[in-house]
Symmetry: C2
Subunit: 338 residues, 2 copies
Amino acid sequence: MAGGSGTRFWPRSRARLPKQLLALWDEKTLIEHTVERFKGVAKPDAVWIVTTEALAAPTREKLGAAHGKVRILGEPVGKNTAPCILWGVREISKIAPDAVIAVMPADHFIGDEPAFRGALSAAASRAAKAGSLVTLGIRPNRPETGYGYIEVSAKIGNEPLAVSQFVEKPDLRTAARYLESGRFLWNAGMFIFTAKAGMEAFSRAMPGLVGAFEKGGSIADVYGRIAKADAVSFDYGVMERAASLGIGVDVVPAACGWNDVGSFPALEEIGRASRGEVVSVDSASNIVQTDSGFVALLGVTDLVVVRDGEVTLVAARDRAQDVKALLEKVRARFPGSV
Amino acid sequence: MAGGSGTRFWPRSRARLPKQLLALWDEKTLIEHTVERFKGVAKPDAVWIVTTEALAAPTREKLGAAHGKVRILGEPVGKNTAPCILWGVREISKIAPDAVIAVMPADHFIGDEPAFRGALSAAASRAAKAGSLVTLGIRPNRPETGYGYIEVSAKIGNEPLAVSQFVEKPDLRTAARYLESGRFLWNAGMFIFTAKAGMEAFSRAMPGLVGAFEKGGSIADVYGRIAKADAVSFDYGVMERAASLGIGVDVVPAACGWNDVGSFPALEEIGRASRGEVVSVDSASNIVQTDSGFVALLGVTDLVVVRDGEVTLVAARDRAQDVKALLEKVRARFPGSV
């Protein structure tokens, strides 16, 4: 899934250069990292990217010749993750009806790739054996309020477990309770299931959406039929309702240094906060990124400072997630800079 | 006087582009403003600029053809203001022994030029009539601790007054007392005297410095002779000691919107804090200058943000005067950027 037009890395990210096409912590783009994570796990032409029509060409370009066999689907319009995943699952089912499918966001960080591959392998086995929908659950190490959680009833080890329920982003007190209980995992939005189980789950949980595809015509026709009710997340439309529809839902615990890299401050969590040269005096806890020259800091703390092309952004670190309001103003005055 | 290599406007100012050669609040450089302030008061070739040898050519260039007749003296080395003023006074005395000389810093702001010219005219009359050293004294409007003060014994009106004493930069409590008393003026470093009185004052107050010039040779020879003892300010070496040497010292009160524009925050005092485009949300009391693109602010206050060429500076507003420590570090890593 590589359709995001995330704004939280603006000005590094722009409408035509969303987060997954950026190199945020080394010289590789996030989508390159995501694709390469499957080396030795899936053949190159078994990697499918669903993005928007507008981003299909830039995505192909960023992946380059090294990943020339990767398949790219371009949605006429972004309609949340359920249509995106259904389209991919349908296309894969046509040519590989016995496939095990892993659904992954293209713009996350995985610090421990061997651990990730181990969890993925366990999830694939479980999906193949049980025919269930399997999700990777990240072991929490802090009372994070920015993620959804997955509750299980048994003690968490390395083995797959049945999901009790999915829960929304909690407040801090609830998050602390989740952490303490040892029965909650972070929902990282990574799903593993057989093509058959995936198609069956969509048919039961979202028959209207399946119908929009089955009526045929161009992909633009299909997306034209998708109503508000169908433009929901896969989490909401399928995963959270699966159990009540008699579909097994399992989770494989994973401790693989995962981070969704939701905003500039998250780069510090993965130890890659600064990019470019910085000279500082009496300054601390700043996140600095510059694409040219250097940034000089004097007596400042807890700032995000980003210079990219024509834009210089200075934001309070705890406001970095509120870039939307700023972007509305920027769009009005400098539409080319968003 | 245009020899300053002020660092407090870095990165807008650089070693080869000091403050007086910058345009800080409109399209004109500060030295252009200073020269043009004397239009109709002094003929073009009666304007003398004393700067450093290295800055003579850039100064000439910035002044351009419009001020081609202005005379420029280039000091081999900056030795504070006493040698600078003595050199100028000697040169002027040679060709115009009856001149009244006004000594001015090249990098100050004057908001009310008619008021300035009125005060200058009153000072020139007094200097010609009394043969005294006259200084312009700025009426204080706040308990400023960043300036030296001039004390008078009489009530301050518009008329010239005898100076009681020059006093150093006060602490806040003392500054408040000065303001309340109504008998103190800011010392703006602007002096008016006849060529004759100037030469006489130097001879009595700084005979060693005068000797360094009178021994002749090249100007490099002269400056080579100036010892530490002679490399003092005109304030310290002449003005503050004049009364005790039997030289009259007067002050003309001036309310002419003067500001010495000592650092970026001072630009706000003169109502010209921002330069370039700024988009801001939930941000206040920031001083922003950019030479390209725009600066976006989110949830930040009391910052100085300056983008100039390869440098992006972000400083706490109340640390803007401490740029020296930062520049030492910058000089070590990016010597070409200072």
